[in-house]
Amino acid sequence: MSEKFYNWLLKLYPPRFREEYGDAMQQAFRDRLRTEPLFRLWLDVLRDLAISVPREFRRPPASASEPGVYRFSDSAVRKMMSRGHADLRTMLLPLVAGALIAWAGDAQLWLSIFVYSLLALFLLRMFFRRGGVRGHWHGYEVVLEEDRISYRNHGVVRVTINRSEITGLHETGDFGLAILGPTVDPTPAAPGVHEVRAHRRGPIWSAGEGQIAIWAPAVLTGYAELRNRLAAWAPVIHEDVGVSQGRMLHRWHVQMFLGSFYVSALLVRSHDWLLALASICGAFLIFLAVVVLRDAGLPRFLKLIPFALLLLLAIKVVFALA
């Protein structure tokens, strides 16, 4: 029982560290379990976890100096998180819409709703900047060897394409290169078709049946060098400028706007604070379900269930407020 629980706790460590030392740590725990009182052992282990887990997450990747390894620079991470002018547009969108609605109806009420909406957007952006994305981007690496290219996340190789099997190189706007080929990875996330994603903001490139894709983003350190070396492998690079970038950003803006507007409208119009709070929590949980299900290999109709729930909840709230 203790051993199983400790094995589960090991998931708190970064994947790369776990892969390197997980087995040895389990063995050390087993050895101590045989010789030490349970209470003292767990006291030690919990104290050890509290100290060592944050330290391992702060550890800079050793691969930074490995030849052929391309990863995000710190400035690129910040750039990807803020998205520069896209941030500003996200903030301005509800303001413009708010001004239009205020002109058409109860100006004071709707303007106050949109002020809250802006505030919510600001807080959301702060949250996403500070916690959500940084660690994820830092772990992203593209490894170019003599005969193959791999994508790895926190040191764990996810996808590999052999040099001789590259079927296409597609350059997609600011997002960089999508490298297509058949997978040699025995356990791909979705056999046959693999979507290249920009974090959780939506697909950038969908590889065809029987293919897999590695995304080499334009903000990768040494992107130009990587692109040149790949061009030597497969001389034709197809340009797909803006294939899905516009659609993706548009969807992101709309999601942010609707989410912040929904919360603000509830706070301003609802006199029952408990109901408003419950509704916001419910919407948040459904949103989490949407995010989790989106990456799961489930049939499309199952993925739509949370969306339907979210829609029903929004309709009910609108009717309750009317």
Partner: protein, 116 residues
């Protein structure tokens, strides 16, 4: 990078170097040696132990040997570690620094008794 992390040398890393000074050991062997030598005052947890081992390996202060079982602990294969020449030099220099501090503490009459 590793040099910055090991300057000053963390206590756990120093204890690991000392534990490996007289013989090659596996992870649990290092834990046991450190606990015994310090009268259970320093007990390294698995996360601290392997985090420090990773740092010491990256800095070239210890090296990993081929897996083999510990006759005392059954048939499971274990990863053994050995102190390198630079690891020994660093441990010596760290010990000399501590000895110098100890001399100062004695001269200031902060520490008394034969046990220190």
């Amino acid at each position: 990078m590793p040099k910055r992390k090991l300057d000053p040398l963390p206590q756990a890393a120093f204890h690991i170097l000392l534990a490996l000074a007289d013989e090659d050991r596996h992870g649990y062997g290092i834990m046991r040696e450190v606990a015994e030598r310090t009268g259970n005052k320093v007990r390294l947890g698995p996360g601290t132990l392997y985090g420090s081992i990773k740092t010491l390996l990256e800095a070239g202060l210890i090296e990993e040997l081929d897996d083999h079982p510990d006759p005392e602990l059954g048939t499971e294969r274990r990863r053994y570690y050995r102190l390198t020449a630079s690891g020994r030099t660093l441990a010596q220099s760290q010990a000399q620094q501590l000895a110098a501090v100890l001399r100062i503490a004695r001269s200031k009459k902060i520490l008394r008794g034969a046990h220190v």
